[in-house]
Amino acid sequence: MGDGAVRSATVSAVQTTSPLQARRRRLSGRLGDLSLYVVTGAAALGSVVLVGAIVWKVFRLSADSFHQFGFGFVTGREWDPVKHVFGALPFIYGTAVSSFVALVIATPLAIAIGLYLSELAPRGLRGIVGSLVELLAAIPSVVLGLWGILVLGPFVAHHVEPWLHSAFGFIPLFGDPQQTGQGLFTAALILTIMIVPIVAAISRELFLGVPRELEEGALALGTTRWEMVRGVILPATRSGIAAALILGLGRALGEAIAVTQVIGGGTRIGWSLFPPADTLASKLASSYQGANPGLEISSLLYLAAILLVIGLIANLLAQIIVRRFDPLRGAKA
């Protein structure tokens, strides 16, 4: 069609010595296009297949344990390689509690930081402070874990836990302080440090994205800056913040290294936040060596499968929220 006309026009404009040469050029051109298409398509396909392969492999290797314990594994409280009894509940508990506490502390902190960076900070500081907050996310988790073991842990053990216990000990959350500071509470603090920069950075972008005319419209009515934030900016960015929090949560759920360094290890389920415990991810990290092939490894992989499913759900949920429920688009408000 038009393409052919242009092509033949180009070919005839260029001095060709023979029609055969022209055909070869056309063929190599088409071959080139096809090759590019195939190669890039294969790469994209490979990426998709990779995710599928990961899910499949993890599930397949957990099959033995699944056959042995079924879904009861999820409520099993014991993890005993000697007795060949394995259950995931202590680790689900550890994951849930550490992530939840981290989220509770991180949410107001991160949103406040996002507001500071978008509304409050003077021009010059905006970039610097924003970069500093983002750098917090770049710290390798093993370094944060090292700091957690040798600096944060002792600090929490000697100052924070005793104070919390004496001031709020009537709440079962704050039981007897631990010697080393290794436990759910310290792990939750480390996770908070990891969640905050992610949520703060996304929040900042969301707040900056609220159209200026909406802000001006609110201020022109004679409201204070905070009232404008609460009445216009926060409602308009609701869904984005929810997605950001879920993304942050996903990060916390999957963190293995820093958590395993500070959480102490154990299968205890109880009210207090202070004693050692394990999460799904940290149990995997700490048990990699010396695990007996067979049922124990299969059970570890069962844990991995549970972690994978939780992580996938969180990730997909965040993506759905972002694509569906944006009040600024004039859709569902």
Binding site: E213, L221, T223
Partner: protein
């Protein structure tokens, strides 16, 4: 060219003597200048008075500082980083930029409607009710909303769907919603920055009619690039233009007078050039 006429005011004469038909001066603007740093002067040497319950139009070619001028009247220029305001604006005798004057209070009394309708992504009811709620005017909120929507000539069209999203309204309706939102907090003055420039002719004339009604209760200052609109709507018209000399360019007030005088017998040649379409 037809236009409504308020009682004829000879501005120059009013300044010279206190006549029987003396309107209250709402804004007394003295030698106002605004620049945004870097030697960019937006306006300079602006001197005029705004009178109560009249519609004052601000016209002029684009870039001559009309919006900058009107945004000084409710301290919206405070929100622009680097904006410096010189001169004096007295609102009912008080210095608007004086020590200890809170812009938040200023903006409650001096409302603004923007060029592009900017309703909040909330319901129609909440758009109008939000301001009063936050400001503490919580009694009889329903009546207040109805009164504001009626005042904006929108009540009839939306009274059955108050809970619907405001973004589902047409452009003209959204702009009237913004007017309702502004009058719901009971301001003294309404500033309108090219309120109909983004609207079709039918919606525009609805807004213009509305302004005649609003004039009864509020003092209106409207910026418009549409001369015919100024002629149709305004009692007094201020013509701004750009003054360029070697050092800088800035917007200046060229002429300020009763509307029919500006359009039929302007005193300044620049005014005449503009209104007869010779430039701008």
């Amino acid at each position: 060219m037809t236009f409504t006429m308020a009682p004829v005011i000879d501005v120059a004469q009013a300044r010279r003597e206190a006549g029987p038909v003396q309107r209250e001066v709402v804004f007394d603007i003295q030698d106002l200048a605004v620049n945004y740093g870097r030697a960019t002067t937006a306006i300079s040497g602006v001197d005029l008075d705004i009178y109560r319950n009249l519609i004052t139009a601000v016209i002029g070619p684009s870039g001559c500082g009309k919006s900058t001028f009107i945004r000084c009247l409710n301290r919206m220029n405070d929100l622009v980083p680097g904006a410096k305001i010189d001169g004096k604006i007295l609102y009912l005798g008080e210095d608007l930029y004086g020590q200890g004057v809170d812009p938040v209070e200023v903006r409650r009394r001096i409302g603004m409607v923007f060029q592009k309708a900017n309703p909040f992504p909330k319901s129609i009811y909440d758009n109008v009710a939000w301001g009063p709620r936050v400001l503490g005017m919580k009694q009889d909120l329903d009546e207040r909303v109805e009164k504001a929507l009626t005042g904006a000539a929108l009540w009839g069209e939306v009274k059955d769907r108050l809970k619907k999203n405001a973004l589902s309204l047409s452009g003209g309706q959204q702009q009237r919603l913004c007017i309702a939102r502004a009058i719901a907090v009971e301001p003294d003055v309404l500033l309108l920055d090219e309120p109909a420039s983004a609207l079709d002719p039918i919606a525009t004339s609805a807004i213009e009619e509305l302004m005649h009604e609003l004039k009864r209760d509020y003092t209106l200052v409207i910026v418009t690039h549409n001369m015919q609109q100024a002629a149709r709507v305004a009692d007094l018209t201020a013509f701004f233009s750009l003054e360029v000399d070697e050092t800088r360019r800035s917007g200046v007030l060229v002429e300020y007078d009763a509307t029919d005088k500006i359009f039929t017998n302007p005193s300044d040649q620049r005014t005449e050039d503009y209104v007869t379409g010779r430039f701008g």
